[in-house]
Protein backbone atom coordinates (compact mmCIF):
# COMPACT_ATOMS: atom_id res chain seq x y z
CA UNK A 1 0.00 0.00 0.00
CA UNK A 2 2.86 2.34 0.88
CA UNK A 3 4.54 1.49 -2.40
CA UNK A 4 1.36 2.27 -4.29
CA UNK A 5 0.97 5.65 -2.56
CA UNK A 6 4.60 6.65 -3.19
CA UNK A 7 4.24 5.57 -6.81
CA UNK A 8 1.01 7.59 -7.15
CA UNK A 9 2.76 10.65 -5.71
CA UNK A 10 5.52 10.35 -8.32
CA UNK A 11 2.98 9.83 -11.08
CA UNK A 12 0.90 12.86 -10.02
CA UNK A 13 4.07 14.93 -9.71
CA UNK A 14 5.01 14.10 -13.31
CA UNK A 15 1.51 14.80 -14.62
CA UNK A 16 1.55 18.14 -12.80
CA UNK A 17 4.84 19.03 -14.47
CA UNK A 18 3.32 18.16 -17.85
CA UNK A 19 0.07 20.05 -17.31
CA UNK A 20 1.88 23.12 -15.97
CA UNK A 21 4.21 23.51 -18.96
CA UNK A 22 7.40 22.80 -17.01
CA UNK A 23 8.33 19.83 -19.22
CA UNK A 24 8.43 22.18 -22.23
CA UNK A 25 12.04 23.39 -22.04
CA UNK A 26 11.44 26.06 -24.69
CA UNK A 27 8.62 27.49 -22.59
CA UNK A 28 10.88 27.49 -19.51
CA UNK A 29 13.51 29.40 -21.47
CA UNK A 30 10.78 31.84 -22.55
CA UNK A 31 10.00 32.36 -18.86
CA UNK A 32 13.61 32.85 -17.75
CA UNK A 33 14.53 35.08 -20.70
CA UNK A 34 13.00 38.49 -19.96
CA UNK A 35 14.63 40.14 -22.99
CA UNK A 36 12.59 38.27 -25.61
CA UNK A 37 8.81 37.92 -25.71
CA UNK A 38 8.59 37.21 -22.01
CA UNK A 39 6.12 34.50 -20.96
CA UNK A 40 5.54 34.91 -17.21
CA UNK A 41 2.88 32.19 -16.97
CA UNK A 42 5.19 29.61 -15.37
CA UNK A 43 5.41 31.78 -12.25
CA UNK A 44 1.94 30.42 -11.49
CA UNK A 45 3.31 26.90 -11.15
CA UNK A 46 4.97 28.04 -7.94
CA UNK A 47 1.80 29.86 -6.88
CA UNK A 48 -0.38 26.76 -7.32
CA UNK A 49 2.16 24.37 -5.80
CA UNK A 50 2.91 26.45 -2.73
CA UNK A 51 -0.76 27.31 -2.11
CA UNK A 52 -1.68 23.62 -1.96
CA UNK A 53 1.44 22.33 -0.23
CA UNK A 54 1.66 25.08 2.40
CA UNK A 55 -1.97 24.58 3.43
CA UNK A 56 -1.77 20.78 3.56
CA UNK A 57 1.73 20.71 5.09
CA UNK A 58 0.45 22.38 8.25
CA UNK A 59 -2.32 19.84 8.63
CA UNK A 60 -0.11 16.84 7.84
CA UNK A 61 2.65 17.57 10.35
CA UNK A 62 0.08 17.87 13.15
CA UNK A 63 -0.17 14.09 12.92
CA UNK A 64 2.17 12.14 15.18
CA UNK A 65 3.51 10.20 12.22
CA UNK A 66 2.96 9.54 8.51
CA UNK A 67 0.44 6.87 7.52
CA UNK A 68 2.98 4.27 6.41
CA UNK A 69 6.21 5.10 8.26
CA UNK A 70 7.46 5.86 11.75
CA UNK A 71 8.30 9.53 11.51
CA UNK A 72 8.40 12.64 9.38
CA UNK A 73 11.91 13.18 8.05
CA UNK A 74 12.26 16.87 7.36
CA UNK A 75 15.48 18.76 6.62
CA UNK A 76 17.10 19.88 9.87
CA UNK A 77 19.98 21.92 8.45
CA UNK A 78 19.42 25.64 8.83
CA UNK A 79 22.89 26.92 7.96
CA UNK A 80 23.03 29.45 5.16
CA UNK A 81 26.50 29.06 3.70
CA UNK A 82 28.43 29.58 0.46
CA UNK A 83 27.75 25.99 -0.64
CA UNK A 84 24.01 26.54 -0.48
CA UNK A 85 24.13 29.82 -2.36
CA UNK A 86 26.85 28.70 -4.79
CA UNK A 87 25.26 25.33 -5.51
CA UNK A 88 21.89 26.95 -6.14
CA UNK A 89 23.58 29.54 -8.36
CA UNK A 90 25.22 26.80 -10.46
CA UNK A 91 21.90 24.99 -10.71
CA UNK A 92 20.15 28.19 -11.84
CA UNK A 93 22.80 28.83 -14.50
CA UNK A 94 22.25 25.33 -15.88
CA UNK A 95 18.48 25.80 -15.73
CA UNK A 96 18.67 29.04 -17.74
CA UNK A 97 21.11 27.48 -20.22
CA UNK A 98 19.18 24.28 -20.92
CA UNK A 99 15.60 24.99 -19.83
CA UNK A 100 15.41 21.84 -17.70
CA UNK A 101 15.45 21.41 -13.94
CA UNK A 102 15.76 17.87 -12.49
CA UNK A 103 12.07 16.83 -12.39
CA UNK A 104 11.17 17.91 -15.94
CA UNK A 105 14.48 16.45 -17.20
CA UNK A 106 13.70 13.00 -15.81
CA UNK A 107 10.06 13.10 -16.90
CA UNK A 108 10.83 14.40 -20.41
CA UNK A 109 13.56 11.83 -20.99
CA UNK A 110 10.81 9.23 -21.46
CA UNK A 111 9.95 10.94 -24.76
CA UNK A 112 13.48 10.03 -25.95
CA UNK A 113 14.02 13.53 -27.29
CA UNK A 114 17.64 14.42 -27.94
CA UNK A 115 17.72 17.43 -25.59
CA UNK A 116 15.93 15.79 -22.67
CA UNK A 117 18.13 12.69 -22.88
CA UNK A 118 21.33 14.72 -23.16
CA UNK A 119 20.29 16.83 -20.20
CA UNK A 120 19.31 13.95 -17.96
CA UNK A 121 22.37 11.82 -18.69
CA UNK A 122 24.74 14.70 -18.04
CA UNK A 123 22.79 15.71 -14.91
CA UNK A 124 23.28 12.21 -13.51
CA UNK A 125 26.98 12.48 -14.39
CA UNK A 126 27.15 15.85 -12.64
CA UNK A 127 25.58 14.35 -9.52
CA UNK A 128 28.03 11.43 -9.56
CA UNK A 129 30.89 13.86 -10.09
CA UNK A 130 29.85 15.81 -7.01
CA UNK A 131 29.46 12.64 -4.96
CA UNK A 132 32.97 11.57 -5.99
CA UNK A 133 34.51 14.94 -5.19
CA UNK A 134 32.67 15.35 -1.91
CA UNK A 135 31.80 11.93 -0.47
CA UNK A 136 31.52 13.29 3.07
CA UNK A 137 28.39 15.18 2.22
CA UNK A 138 26.67 12.41 0.39
CA UNK A 139 26.47 9.65 3.01
CA UNK A 140 23.46 11.20 4.73
CA UNK A 141 21.08 9.83 2.12
CA UNK A 142 18.07 11.80 1.00
CA UNK A 143 17.77 15.51 1.45
CA UNK A 144 15.56 18.12 -0.09
Amino acid sequence: MRTLCVFAAGLLFAMGLGVSGMTDANKVIGFLNVAGTWDPSLAFVMVGAIAVHMATYRLIIKRTKPVFSDQFLLPTVTKINPRLVGGAALFGAGWGLGGFCPGPGVVSSTGFGEAALAFTVSMLMGMLLFHAVDPARTVAGSSS
Binding site: G16, A43, F68, A89, G111
Partner: protein, 142 residues
Amino acid sequence: MMSDIINATIGGAMIGLAASMLLFFHGRIAGISGIVGGLLQRPGKDTAWQAVFVAGLLTGGVILTLVAPATIAEPSTRTVGAVAIAGLLVGVGVRMGRGCTSGHGVCGLSRLSKRSLVATISFMATGFATATIIQLFLGGTV
Protein backbone atom coordinates in the same frame (compact mmCIF):
# COMPACT_ATOMS: atom_id res chain seq x y z
CA MET B 1 -1.81 33.47 -22.29
CA MET B 2 -4.78 33.11 -19.93
CA SER B 3 -5.02 29.37 -20.61
CA ASP B 4 -1.27 29.07 -19.99
CA ILE B 5 -1.73 30.69 -16.59
CA ILE B 6 -4.63 28.38 -15.74
CA ASN B 7 -2.65 25.31 -16.81
CA ALA B 8 0.38 26.47 -14.85
CA THR B 9 -1.72 26.97 -11.72
CA ILE B 10 -3.52 23.63 -12.02
CA GLY B 11 -0.28 21.78 -12.81
CA GLY B 12 1.37 23.55 -9.88
CA ALA B 13 -1.47 22.49 -7.59
CA MET B 14 -0.98 18.88 -8.74
CA ILE B 15 2.74 19.14 -7.92
CA GLY B 16 1.92 20.58 -4.48
CA LEU B 17 -0.59 17.81 -3.86
CA ALA B 18 1.91 15.14 -4.94
CA ALA B 19 4.45 16.56 -2.47
CA SER B 20 1.78 16.46 0.24
CA MET B 21 0.95 12.84 -0.59
CA LEU B 22 4.58 11.80 -0.17
CA LEU B 23 4.71 13.61 3.17
CA PHE B 24 1.35 12.30 4.39
CA PHE B 25 1.93 8.67 3.47
CA HIS B 26 5.67 8.31 3.84
CA GLY B 27 6.88 11.40 5.74
CA ARG B 28 9.40 12.51 3.13
CA ILE B 29 10.12 15.71 1.23
CA ALA B 30 9.46 15.56 -2.52
CA GLY B 31 12.79 16.97 -3.62
CA ILE B 32 13.54 15.49 -7.01
CA SER B 33 17.28 16.15 -6.90
CA GLY B 34 17.58 14.50 -3.48
CA ILE B 35 15.54 11.50 -4.59
CA VAL B 36 17.37 10.99 -7.90
CA GLY B 37 20.74 11.76 -6.31
CA GLY B 38 19.96 9.34 -3.50
CA LEU B 39 19.63 6.54 -6.04
CA LEU B 40 23.17 7.28 -7.24
CA GLN B 41 24.58 6.64 -3.78
CA ARG B 42 25.21 3.47 -1.86
CA PRO B 43 21.88 1.63 -1.44
CA GLY B 44 20.28 2.25 1.96
CA LYS B 45 16.92 2.47 3.70
CA ASP B 46 15.75 5.21 1.32
CA THR B 47 16.63 3.39 -1.88
CA ALA B 48 13.37 1.44 -2.22
CA TRP B 49 10.93 4.33 -1.88
CA GLN B 50 13.14 6.60 -3.98
CA ALA B 51 13.14 4.02 -6.78
CA VAL B 52 9.35 3.68 -6.55
CA PHE B 53 8.88 7.46 -6.68
CA VAL B 54 11.15 7.75 -9.74
CA ALA B 55 9.22 4.87 -11.35
CA GLY B 56 6.08 6.97 -10.82
CA LEU B 57 7.76 9.97 -12.43
CA LEU B 58 8.87 7.92 -15.44
CA THR B 59 5.42 6.33 -15.81
CA GLY B 60 3.93 9.84 -15.78
CA GLY B 61 6.40 10.80 -18.48
CA VAL B 62 5.38 7.85 -20.63
CA ILE B 63 1.70 8.75 -20.22
CA LEU B 64 2.43 12.37 -21.18
CA THR B 65 4.42 11.23 -24.20
CA LEU B 66 1.53 9.04 -25.36
CA VAL B 67 -1.44 11.26 -24.48
CA ALA B 68 -0.04 14.78 -24.84
CA PRO B 69 3.28 14.70 -26.70
CA ALA B 70 3.17 18.46 -27.19
CA THR B 71 3.79 18.93 -23.45
CA ILE B 72 7.26 17.48 -23.92
CA ALA B 73 8.96 19.99 -26.17
CA GLU B 74 11.14 18.79 -28.94
CA PRO B 75 13.25 19.94 -30.63
CA SER B 76 14.87 22.28 -28.15
CA THR B 77 15.96 25.74 -29.28
CA ARG B 78 19.31 25.00 -27.61
CA THR B 79 22.06 22.85 -29.12
CA VAL B 80 22.70 19.41 -27.64
CA GLY B 81 26.14 20.61 -26.47
CA ALA B 82 24.60 23.49 -24.52
CA VAL B 83 21.99 21.22 -22.97
CA ALA B 84 24.69 18.70 -21.95
CA ILE B 85 26.70 21.43 -20.22
CA ALA B 86 23.47 22.60 -18.59
CA GLY B 87 22.92 19.08 -17.24
CA LEU B 88 26.38 19.02 -15.65
CA LEU B 89 25.82 22.41 -14.01
CA VAL B 90 22.42 21.31 -12.70
CA GLY B 91 23.72 17.94 -11.44
CA VAL B 92 26.63 19.44 -9.52
CA GLY B 93 24.63 22.49 -8.39
CA VAL B 94 21.62 20.68 -6.94
CA ARG B 95 23.80 18.28 -4.93
CA MET B 96 26.05 21.08 -3.68
CA GLY B 97 23.08 23.31 -2.81
CA ARG B 98 21.05 20.32 -1.60
CA GLY B 99 17.90 20.91 -3.54
CA CYS B 100 16.23 22.19 -6.67
CA THR B 101 12.97 23.78 -7.79
CA SER B 102 10.92 21.15 -5.96
CA GLY B 103 12.85 20.61 -2.72
CA HIS B 104 13.83 24.22 -2.07
CA GLY B 105 11.26 25.98 -4.23
CA VAL B 106 7.99 24.16 -3.57
CA CYS B 107 8.59 22.22 -0.34
CA GLY B 108 11.08 24.56 1.34
CA LEU B 109 9.14 27.75 0.70
CA SER B 110 5.94 26.05 1.84
CA ARG B 111 7.68 25.18 5.12
CA LEU B 112 8.88 28.80 5.40
CA SER B 113 12.52 27.62 5.44
CA LYS B 114 14.93 30.57 5.31
CA ARG B 115 17.59 28.30 3.82
CA SER B 116 15.28 27.34 0.98
CA LEU B 117 14.29 30.96 0.43
CA VAL B 118 17.96 31.92 0.03
CA ALA B 119 18.56 28.99 -2.35
CA THR B 120 15.45 29.83 -4.39
CA ILE B 121 16.47 33.48 -4.74
CA SER B 122 19.93 32.32 -5.82
CA PHE B 123 18.82 29.85 -8.52
CA MET B 124 16.06 32.15 -9.76
CA ALA B 125 18.56 35.01 -10.07
CA THR B 126 21.12 33.02 -12.07
CA GLY B 127 18.36 31.30 -14.07
CA PHE B 128 16.88 34.58 -15.24
CA ALA B 129 20.36 36.10 -15.73
CA THR B 130 21.65 33.19 -17.83
CA ALA B 131 18.66 32.92 -20.16
CA THR B 132 18.46 36.71 -20.56
CA ILE B 133 22.20 37.14 -21.20
CA ILE B 134 22.06 34.40 -23.85
CA GLN B 135 19.27 36.37 -25.53
CA LEU B 136 20.99 39.76 -25.29
CA PHE B 137 24.55 38.81 -26.21
CA LEU B 138 24.16 35.65 -28.27
CA GLY B 139 20.82 36.31 -29.93
CA GLY B 140 19.20 33.47 -28.00
CA THR B 141 21.16 30.69 -29.65
CA VAL B 142 23.73 28.56 -27.86
